[in-house]
Amino acid sequence: MDITYKITKFQIQNVFRSLWLVVYAIGLALSTSLIIYFTNDSSKVVVSLLTIVLVLNPLVSILFGSIYIYNAREFIELVLTQPIERSFLFYGLFLGLLIPFVLVSLLGLGGPLFLSGIVEVSLAVNLLAMGILVQTIFISLGIFVTICVSDKSMGLGIAFLVWLGLCWIYDGFILFISFAFQDYPLEKLLLVLTILNPIDLARITILTKLDTAAMLGVTGAIFQTFLEGASGNIIAFCMIILWIIAPLLVAYRKFIRKDF
């Protein structure tokens, strides 16, 4: 674990000095502050910030994560020629990417949110926690793509498609089903489909905590009942954790046997 700590420490140093990340952190803090400044209503602030948390953050996480690992390929090779286990390097790479991103979210999103006090603390914590979990999922997915696809341009294309699929195409698919089968009782099917996508699950989890949840109709009421229950909460949490662990586990197994 000492090796993992050393690699993580140097990685964090390297990632934090990246101009990209600094610009992103400032941009995040600025956009959050502007949203809070121009929107006085707590629910509206949360709904606006959801776009950053569930659309922009995942895109930046998956692309930055993938680019970082692709660019570090030769350095990974050099580290692997030292007498260290590959697993330690893998954990170091993951943590070294995750920690700077979590800190950027805490500062850029959490900072203005808590300082302004416009959103109830429990709701702000929920929003931030969900944002960090979704970010972790997309960093895992980024690592998964880079370990599985050796070609950088193809890998980045796939990473973008993964983001596009989970953020936009999946929603289109759900909308299509809703319209095509509108005469049938689809509430339970929609609930299952929503749980399967981490972005939708995170969005619904936050939305059902807002006063405006009543506007979501019958489906919203079903989601609310489900997510307020203990079993619903556990299922939702397990699904998000599964989305983090599954890609990471496959990437880990590939990394251990990968030819460099």
């Binding site: 140097f10 140093q13 390297n14 000095r17 030769e74 090779e77 050099l78 692997l80 030292q82 007498p83």
Partner: protein, 246 residues
Amino acid sequence: MIEIKNVSKRFGKLRVLREITLTIPYNQITAIVGPNGSGKTTLIKSILGLVNIDSGEIFFDGSNISKNISYRSRIGYMPQVGHYPENLRVIEVIELIKSLRIDVARKETDSLIQLFSLEPYLDKFIRNLSGGTIQKISAVISLMFDSDVYILDEPTAGLDPVAVVELKNLIRERKNRGATFIVISHQLSEIETYADRLVFMLNGRIVIDNEIHSFIESVGKESLEQSIIYFLKEQNKILINNGYNI
């Protein structure tokens, strides 16, 4: 001693190593030479454990390398082109690699930094350095360990003439202290001046494995370059006569 026994490796349909058997004796400088794509880098990556071989075995001092990674603490490796985290300083990169091992002599690192005139660059970020300076960092990183074996992939490529001389002197000095070197290079005239042994690879096979001077003598040419060209032409003639398409 490094023993490579019947090692084969494929990347998809491409057979990169074909049943390679080779013994690398200690306290010699073995030069691995061959055209691009002949399997040189894959061979050394197999020794380093970066590439998983499909079949065969590699032994380091009698121990199978697939069973234990500790043998790598006895190897110093210099990659063909060094790529380091661009937002780290030179000294941080050196410290990172040093921190992963325990067999580093502090004085050795300092004298290497001095030897390659890297002192002015220690606090500079990697992203601001030239290719030649990065190559010097690779040289320091590979040689700062008190290793038994050094594997250098195109060590002089990109280095300025002074650094090339210093590096070659260092290789000779370490060899005199008992170290073993495996050097990949395309510079045949250069290899002739400091290497003891030649391993020539072609299409994933070893076609020459001999002492350099014995090989030159056996071919009857003046230099290593001429000897290899002559040898390959003769090989081609034999293959064409046997019905192979070159």
